[in-house]
Symmetry: C2
Subunit: 354 residues, 2 copies
């Protein structure tokens, strides 16, 4: 089958590889849709960052590059391994693409996203979903509620990232939120905030265009064009407060972090979600004088079912508006990765159907 494999910086290749075998306790899935994630682009432009190298194979998979990419996916079960109960050929499913040891204190307490061996399928090995088929262990498989499509389920992944971040932020419905970055994760946070009843959400980006359209479509109360407005001033001007209660920073750039720290109110929180290509410089005196906490949020844990339920029961609607392009796997390099590098502002989410 065809698969997109990451070989190194700016080097991804469509290659023919064997179909994965269906082992005991796993199911084989025909991938319907897989989104291109910001972290895929980070690896492409600046990696290997999270992708393991021959010098340091991943502790759980033992794998290293070249590796098949793709982790925001959903599809249909086409084969079940020995000992699989409750899942059947033909089931439409989303897959939580996370690898963890299952044995450490964090895994046992449900916080498997901070397992020391944590990694994502499609990043650290375990196959990838920019391919026709993938085989995954059953504990990662979430059957879709009847009204949820596989396209929606592929888009659930960035919403899960947002859902977890909202939980980490301890935001309450009456609080104000600011999201810096209106790409897929920023939109995922916005969707999660609105689904969970947060009243005021501002979204900022240096690029308006389709990202502004998406933010407004998903209920942003204010869009801030960061290329011409100072984000903190815009928030203060609108709310009349000293800043937002919670700021979500997803860009992973120094200017965005500085804006986040400026735009948050005293005793607020900056939820930091980006993978950085270099170390950030933080003026801890500024944090101190505001008692402003930095709260990182990584991926998600035990949140897939909640997000699929919210899509099924209508708290989340119109998820398809995140999609700016749908392409076949054969076009993924030029029509997907390079398209996002060169015309990022024209896109929120590109979906691939292998």
């Amino acid at each position: 089958m065809q698969a997109l494999r990451f070989h190194g910086r700016r080097d991804v290749r469509l290659e023919d590889i064997d179909e994965p075998a269906t082992r005991a306790g796993t199911v084989k899935i025909k991938v319907h849709w897989c989104g291109i994630c910001g972290s895929d682009l980070h690896e492409y432009l600046g990696g290997p960052i999270m992708t393991p190298t021959p010098e340091a194979p991943h502790p759980l998979t033992g794998e290293y590059l070249p590796l098949t990419m793709g982790h925001e996916f959903a599809g249909e079960i086409v084969e079940t391994g020995d000992g699989v109960d409750g899942l059947t050929v033909g089931d439409l499913v989303a897959v939580e693409p996370l690898l963890f040891c299952g044995e450490c204190d964090f895994c046992r307490s449900g916080s498997y996203n901070v397992c020391p061996s944590f990694g994502a399928i499609g990043v650290v090995g375990g196959g990838g979903a920019f391919a026709e088929f993938i085989t995954v262990p059953t504990h990662l498989v979430h059957p879709l509620p009847p009204s949820v499509t596989t396209e929606q389920a592929a888009l659930a992944e960035p919403v899960c990232v947002g859902w977890h971040a909202v939980s980490r932020s301890a935001i309450e419905p009456g609080d104000s939120a600011l999201v810096i970055g209106a790409g897929p994760i920023g939109i995922g946070i916005l969707i999660a905030l609105k689904a969970r009843g947060v009243g005021f959400v501002a979204v900022a980006d240096r690029i308006a265009g389709v990202r502004k359209d998406a933010a407004l479509a998903f209920g942003a109360d204010l869009f801030i064009d960061a290329s011409s407005e100072r984000i903190g001033d815009a928030v203060r001007g609108r709310t009349g407060e000293l800043g937002a209660d919670v700021v979500f920073e997803v860009a992973g750039a120094q200017a965005a972090l500085d804006d986040a720290i400026d735009a948050a109110r005293p005793q607020g929180r900056v939820v930091s979600m980006a993978v950085w290509e270099e170390s950030a410089v933080v003026d801890l005196n500024v944090l101190l004088l505001k008692e402003l906490a930095i709260v990182p949020s990584l991926a998600y844990a035990n949140e897939y079912a909640a997000v699929l339920d919210a899509i099924a029961d209508g708290r989340i609607t119109g998820l398809e508006r995140m999609v700016s392009r749908r392409i076949p796997l054969a076009e993924i390099v030029e029509g997907g990765f390079e398209e996002l590098v060169q015309r990022r502002g024209d896109h929120v989410k590109i979906l691939v159907h292998p």
Copy 2:
């Protein structure tokens, strides 16, 4: 009267100034004891940091350097201004040395430590307690419970800093704590942690000597000599866990911050309390992979009475063991500031009696 005035970096002078007038709503206090604070030393060595300059007078006091220093103090009321109720000449009192506007959202909600106009008496103006007398508004004055001495009350100030940090950390009795820095604030945190029932507290410092003695005297379960041991390894070796639940970082140095981040467990907190002389470099990827939050803690708010009560009822005992030297005001420059600069490791707290 004699007063120690801050003129600029490495320039503090004992000068004759007028005794302060007792205005309406204020009381005049004869200072019994005033501690030399780490932030006083920061100003002396690297300032003006918090001390206002002629270019930027403090918004509440309108004052700028040269200013009288000293804010960790207690003494006796010797005069009361018009309209003062409930305070009498002869009362022994501690003074919460904080200036704030009293009108902003934060002041009105009780978080006056993050008032945008926040500052400390003895740092940003309002007089200072390295002087025979000081006049302060009554809302800052806390009469001492009968069993509490003015020496203990002067030492309550760094304990209040610790008390607030413990509240900010959301630590629970069964959690483990690490305090990096065994100076007065570090010891204040240790005292607050133990008074509030935290079971395991490790204390680390690059200097052992009297700091180690003080840490053990106040109930530290482990002292880590950071000059020879890696702090995180020592904590993990003792607890068998992936790190401390909460790490308190008071040094304001890059190496200490790096140690704090290393020594905290995933999903733990690093409580950052230091005033930094330069910006810190933070690897946000490391924070992200551990979901490790940075929670700053500044001074205190509504915590003086609780700490004085804890001293009175015996939850805090033997506070005098923090004191490594007692000196008259006339000796403060050489016997106080320079002594701490040159022989920091020989001291926890130097108390001055004007």
